[in-house]
């Protein structure tokens, strides 16, 4: 089962993503330790800074569920072996644009 995300080495740039506990929507940790539905606002981190941010995220349970590291480029673009999965999470299902974020929420 692939519910476990691949391990990312300390030097790989990463963002933290999870689900809004209240709505279930995909969210990303921002630089000011808030959460945004927009990937472009995600904070890109490496090393200890990233680990520390994940520790914070794991305790921020009212706002986020199941946070984890996702691989991104220095510029915050999705990369690595989970590119397709994270692209689908960021944009919505590929089969039905109108049901995803492209279609607006509800």
């Amino acid at each position: 089962m692939s519910s476990e995300r691949p391990k990312l080495g300390p030097d790989i740039p990463k963002a933290i993503t999870g689900w809004n506990s209240r709505t279930g929507r995909v969210i990303y940790l921002t630089a000011d330790r808030n959460w945004s539905e927009s990937l472009s606002e995600a904070c890109v981190m490496t090393g200890d800074e990233a680990q520390e941010a994940l520790r914070f995220a794991s305790t921020d349970q009212v706002r986020v569920s199941d946070p984890y590291f996702m691989q991104v480029t220095q510029d915050g673009l999705i990369s690595g072996r989970e590119t397709l999965r994270e692209t689908i999470r960021a944009r919505g299902p590929t089969n039905h644009p109108m049901f995803g974020k492209q279609g607006g929420d509800l």
């Binding site: 089962m1 692939s2 519910s3 689900w19 506990s21 209240r22 709505t23 279930g24 929507r25 995909v26 349970q61 009212v62 569920s65 199941d66 690595g80 072996r81 989970e82 590119t83 397709l84 999965r85 689908i88 999470r89 919505g92 299902p93 590929t94 089969n95 039905h96 109108m98 049901f99 995803g100 279609g103 509800l106």
Partner: protein, 553 residues
């Protein structure tokens, strides 16, 4: 038809109230996700790729107009105006907010539905033949027995912490349309040598990462003894099933480890040792009471054939083609069952919009006594329709975009949600299904091919039944790229078999052309137009098809 009775009402309301409190505590920060997760799962709430998902139980796939309209209302008010019917005859909503969930459960209870036993290590929704009570070939309607098992198993204290989830399916004794041989327990209604109706008991079937076809544990058990016998099986499982390893915890592993004879011996010993006081006695009055819920509708003394229908078929080619694939024989002359395909080309298999749900509800109320079923092929069935009304039903379905004429054909694909929705997926299923539909979209070609079951799963969990498709497709992940393995030779009926992997996986874009070659090879090799794909495959083995798949001409 079964009506949600006093048995459910109290329990369901109580459950919904409890869940409201749990959600409030979760959102107030008093209940960490880790502790909340098992509670939400007990109420059918998963966290998927994009959002929370709610799985609503449709016991043995039975719906009526009011329930389907209720589901449409849920889709409109709390989701994105659609729902997904699953291979276990349930419905899933993909976008409901956790904060709305308690209200949704309350609404469901208002029209007699719930999400109990749709997740977790308990006895799940009991599934059945979508043509139950109508099939011309059945020995008896299996639904009363599904309901009896449902009532017996719901919140049964001994069976709410099983080693793993447990799935039961019941078939009425004709052609197996409920895939009973790939369930933890499959029951088949049949007569013994004295002509008395009871059950064949099959156990240890299942798909997932270690697929198995179930074995017959008992050739025949009487109706009054059924629940005691099931308890004996469940006890053997509870005692000996593995709890140390999630992947070895299903009963199929136990049956396989003990061997057919070894497992049977334990069950028979357990059954024989049951003290009279322990037996689950099922009085005839209780059987009668539940059977009465499923009393057949009053059928008109119609003629065995219908001039209206026959004449319409002659003048309307599209009606004729649809009727060939989607209208099924009924045990009452002058009636038919209608398969409403939820597989229009290019849409996610099994999805229905809220408008379509309402249209089907209206058609069912007007022409089918309100009786609607969910088929494990992710289609719907209008169970009892007068032949005279078939042309009107066709016209109404057409108007709602629901008259796709592909029942049992290669584009009537079973597919799980895959990577477009599922958090466990390795690869997409829906888009592969759509690419295959596109490749076989010529109705003449599809007619020429005839019956061919194609099933797709986005990972090894096998929710899309890929092992038991005549052609199965399994999505795998290779270093971040989607690949698809093809299996040949599976079947889910009374001759159930697990398909064999043909070889290395293919790329997403190569699947449809490869299957086109396979099917072309079949058309050349079949002994007659009547020999179906699976028959040809069983006669010749997979070698010629494997060759075609990988492109050797």
């Amino acid at each position: 038809m079964y009506r949600y009775d006093e048995f459910d009402e109290g329990l369901v309301r109580q459950r919904a109230r409890q869940f409201r409190g749990q959600v409030e505590r979760r959102l107030a920060g008093e209940l960490p996700e880790e502790h909340f997760k098992p509670l939400r799962l007990q109420n059918g709430v998963y966290l998927q790729l994009h959002a929370y998902m709610l799985r609503v139980a449709i016991p043995y796939g039975q719906l009526d107009g009011a329930k389907l309209r209720g589901l449409a209302e849920i889709a409109d008010r709390y989701d994105k105006r659609y729902g997904h019917f699953t291979t276990r005859q349930n419905i899933q909503f993909n976008w409901i907010r956790l904060e709305d969930m308690p209200e949704v459960l309350d609404r469901l209870a208002d029209f007699g539905m719930h999400a109990i036993q749709t997740s977790g290590n308990c006895i799940r929704n009991v599934t059945s033949d979508p043509f139950a009570g109508a099939g011309a070939d059945e020995v008896e309607d299996p639904r009363p027995w599904c309901e009896i098992i449902r009532q017996w198993s719901t919140f049964h204290p001994e069976f709410s912490h099983l080693p793993r989830k447990f799935k039961i399916a019941v078939s009425g004794g004709g052609h197996d349309r409920a895939a009973i041989r790939v369930h933890d327990i499959g029951l088949d209604l049949k007569r013994n040598s004295e002509g008395e109706i009871g059950f064949e008991v099959i156990c240890g079937g299942g798909l997932g990462r270690t697929p198995h076809v179930g074995v017959t544990v008992r050739e025949w058990i009487s109706k009054p003894d059924l629940l005691s016998y099931l308890e004996a099986i469940m006890r053997v499982y509870n005692r000996h099933g593995r709890r140390d390893n999630k992947y070895k915890a299903r009963i199929k592993i136990l049956v396989n480890e003990l061997g057919e004879a070894g497992f049977r011996k334990l069950v028979e010993e357990e059954f024989a040792a049951q003290h009279e006081s322990e037996k689950v006695v099922l009085p005839q009055t209780e059987i009668n009471r539940i059977e009465a819920y499923f009393a057949p509708p009053v059928f008109d003394a119609a003629l065995p054939t219908s001039e209206i229908f026959d004449a319409a078929r002659k003048t309307d080619k599209s009606l004729d083609r649809w009727a060939r694939h989607n209208v099924r024989p009924h045990k009452i002359p002058g009636y038919a069952s209608i398969l409403v395909s939820l597989k229009p080309l290019g849409a996610p298999p099994g999805d229905a919009t809220s408008d379509q749900m309402r249209a089907i509800a209206d058609i069912a109320d007007r022409y089918a006594g309100g009786d609607i079923r969910v088929a494990h092929e992710q289609d719907l069935v209008l169970t009892h329709v007068r032949l005279d009304d078939v042309p009107s039903v066709f016209a109404a379905l057409q108007a709602a975009g629901l008259a796709t004429a592909n029942g049992g054909l290669i584009t009537d694909i079973i597919a799980c949600p895959g990577l477009d929705y599922c958090n466990l997926a390795n690869a997409r299923s829906i888009s592969v299904a759509n690419s295959i539909q596109e490749a076989f979209s010529d109705p003449n070609l599809e007619d020429l091919i005839g019956r061919l079951h194609l099933n797709i799963s986005g990972c090894i969990n096998a929710c899309g039944h890929h092992h038991v498709g005549h052609i199965g497709i399994l999505g795998v992940d290779k270093k971040g790229e989607e690949f698809y393995q093809v299996l040949f030779g599976g079947r889910a009926d009374e001759r159930a078999a697990i398909g064999e992997i043909a070889g290395p996986g293919l790329r997403h874009e190569d699947i449809a052309p490869a299957l086109k070659r396979v099917v072309e090879r079949y058309l050349v090799l079949r002994s007659s137009p009547e020999e179906t794909f699976i028959d040809t495959l069983e006669r010749l083995g997979q070698a010629p098809f494997r060759e075609a798949l990988y492109g050797a001409s």
